[in-house]
């Protein structure tokens, strides 16, 4: 067990592309850290550099206080679980799990005892004599985990270990991974492109974009206090709504009406280089059917009318999609998020508004509906830099803060 420190670690390729840029990260002993981001953000490259499968171009990597930049993977004493599982097809489950121990030249009895123990933890005992070809996806995944835990390494590295499983099994395996990590208390670095996995698994989440770290923090902090537009759009499902907002006479003109501004935001906007146009971000759960709220709450927000496009009833609440007029919010970050989501029409960036209303709301498709939203939960972003203007000392305070 050990801590892992990345000190200004960069990776550039001979053709000049920079995959990872000055990543600073301190992973404490026993911590579960998630690297998350869209494809091509450098998260897998970072993991491979920690593993030793890829050279570090500059910066220093320390495991347990020791510089390991030039050490081969075998000398770093860390185990890795691959997306493809990478089980050796010519060996049985037992031989697969025993492989690292055999390479470490342990004696036969120790090997057998360790393999049996790991198999018991992962409920693989009855499968030990099978070949990987005769296992299901979930079983293969567990064998891959077994091979990693069997030699009690200093750290686990996991490269999208659950992404080849079907949705139901993925949720199940997520808890297995989580429990196993807590049980063993081994430092773990976990790479995923799935923000749900990132939110549910990690002690801390590292969001990456274009080879650079965007924000590091516990999942809830990233969700509530995103430092920039990219983090705000990436974390959360359905994702945050983004609207175009124009600064006019101390308030904001948006498709949802004029949003009043508190002193703090106003001061920000008084600076000479302050943008005249902003992007307003608000999460689906900060909307509510205007009929269902008390007056006290009503005062903290604004109301608007909009035609209902689609209603998705989830039982516990309703996802209601509204069509709103007005200019589209545009920024490089939003386009990148849209491309990653696989749609040019990213839910938050179009004329669509996603809201989560109470199940009691009598909302119906085709009608117009009055909706309230919480001004205290609004985020304002600079479209040029992506910075969250409502964030003060790491805390988001909404549009009204004084």
């Amino acid at each position: 067990m050990a801590d892992i420190v990345l000190d200004k670690v960069s990776k550039s390729f001979p053709d000049g592309t920079v995959a990872v840029q000055d990543v600073d990260l301190e992973i404490a002993d026993g911590e579960f850290v998630i690297l998350v981001g869209p494809s091509g953000c450098g998260k897998s490259t970072t993991l491979n550099m920690i593993a030793g499968l890829e050279d570090i171009s500059s910066g220093e990597l320390r495991i347990a206080g020791q510089r390991v930049n030039d050490k081969a993977p075998r000398d770093r004493d860390i185990a890795m679980v691959f997306q493809s599982y990478a089980l050796y097809p010519n060996m049985t489950v037992r031989e697969n799990m025993a492989f690292p121990l055999r390479l470490a030249k342990l004696d036969k009895e120790t090997i057998n005892a360790k393999v049996d123990e790991a198999a018991k933890v992962l409920e693989l005992t009855s499968l030990l004599d099978r070949k990987p070809a005769n296992l299901s996806g979930g079983q293969r995944q567990r064998v891959a985990m077994g091979r990693a835990i069997v030699r009690q390494p200093k750290a686990f590295l996991m490269d999208e270990p659950l992404s080849n499983l079907d949705a139901k099994l993925r949720v199940q395996m997520r808890t297995v991974v989580s429990r196993l990590q807590k049980q063993l208390g081994t430092t773990t670095v976990y790479v995923t492109h799935d923000q749900t996995e990132a939110m549910t698994l990690g002690d801390r989440v590292v969001i990456m974009r274009g080879g650079a770290v965007q924000q590091v923090g516990p999942p809830q902090e990233l969700y509530d206090h995103p430092r920039n537009l990219f983090v705000a759009g990436f974390i959360g499902s359905p994702s945050m709504n983004f609207l175009h907002a124009a600064v006019q006479d101390g308030s904001l003109r948006t498709a949802l009406g004029d949003v009043p501004l508190g002193d703090r935001v106003r001061r920000e906007l008084e600076a000479a280089d302050a943008p005249r146009e902003l992007i307003l971000g608000i999460r689906p759960e900060h909307f509510e059917d205007a009929e269902l709220i008390d007056d006290d709450t009503r005062r903290r927000g604004l109301e608007f009318d909009a035609p209902v496009e689609i209603v998705e009833s989830m039982g516990s609440d309703k996802y209601v999609y509204f069509t709103v007029e007005g200019e589209r919010a545009s920024a490089a970050e939003l386009e990148e998020l849209a491309a990653d989501a696989g749609s040019a029409d990213f839910a938050g960036a179009g004329g669509n508004l996603v809201t989560r209303l109470s199940a009691e709301s009598p909302v119906a498709e085709g009608q117009s509906r009055r909706v309230w939203f919480n001004l205290e939960k609004i985020h304002l972003f600079d479209p040029g830099t992506g910075r969250n203007l409502t964030l003060h000392e790491g805390r988001a305070a909404g549009a009204l803060a004084d």
């Binding site: 593993a51 075998r74 990478a86 050796y88």
Partner: protein, 278 residues
Amino acid sequence: MAVETTTRAKLRWGLLDVLVVVFALIPVLWIASLSFKTPATLTDGKFFPREWTLDNYKTIFETDQFVRALINSIGIALIATLVAVVLGAMAAYAISRLDFPGKGLLVGVSLLIAMFPQVSLVSPLFEIERQLGLFDTWPGLILPYITFALPLAIYTLSAFFKQIPWDLEKAAKMDGATQAQAFRRVIAPLAAPGLFTTAILVFIFCWNDFLFAISLTSTERSRTVPAALSFFTGASQFEDPTGAICAAAVVITVPIILFVLFFQRRIVSGLTSGAVKG
């Protein structure tokens, strides 16, 4: 109705198959038939021998010439195959795994060698080997065989290596293996069918070669069976050697046919692997 059309289709295809097989096999069967005929009935033009005899086979195994040539053939083909497969495996592994400078050139040149008309190289090779004292020796044949078998070996083997997921090698390294251990304990066992297929193909290439065998040898010391056949005289020089030649031809053909029939599936999958995603 449906059953009728399928039986008719089956019949039609069956007929076509038989036609193709007969067309391809008649020369071989003719040689086999000649090898069982007695000298008297050799020229009677009948497909089935009227008098069966094994004399021709006895003759060839009694003459030193044939036995010696058979030993040469087996020895030269085996050594050439072994060297070509080992070298080819290393080259193919590098080509499929690494991005080294000159990789395109290497692949291009090896393709060029495979395409080169061998007959145009025979005279220069003859001169070179005479100068170097390699003419009419085993290495004198083994070397050109390796040269021409290598492209074949590299191509089939790199198709095999490309199919092995690279993650396996990375996993082995993470599990504490050195590069050599990763290759020996993880990659090589998985590539075994490919190595085997390549070995068979290379062996057949060396076994069947006539051009180099006839041009680069002059005595029984290194003459292989295909070349030796053309010098066949039979038991005495006054005898008509046709029957004996046919018997010898059968002897060197049969092992190859059995080989191919037995490993047919493997060879086909080896040749097409990588071309079609299974």
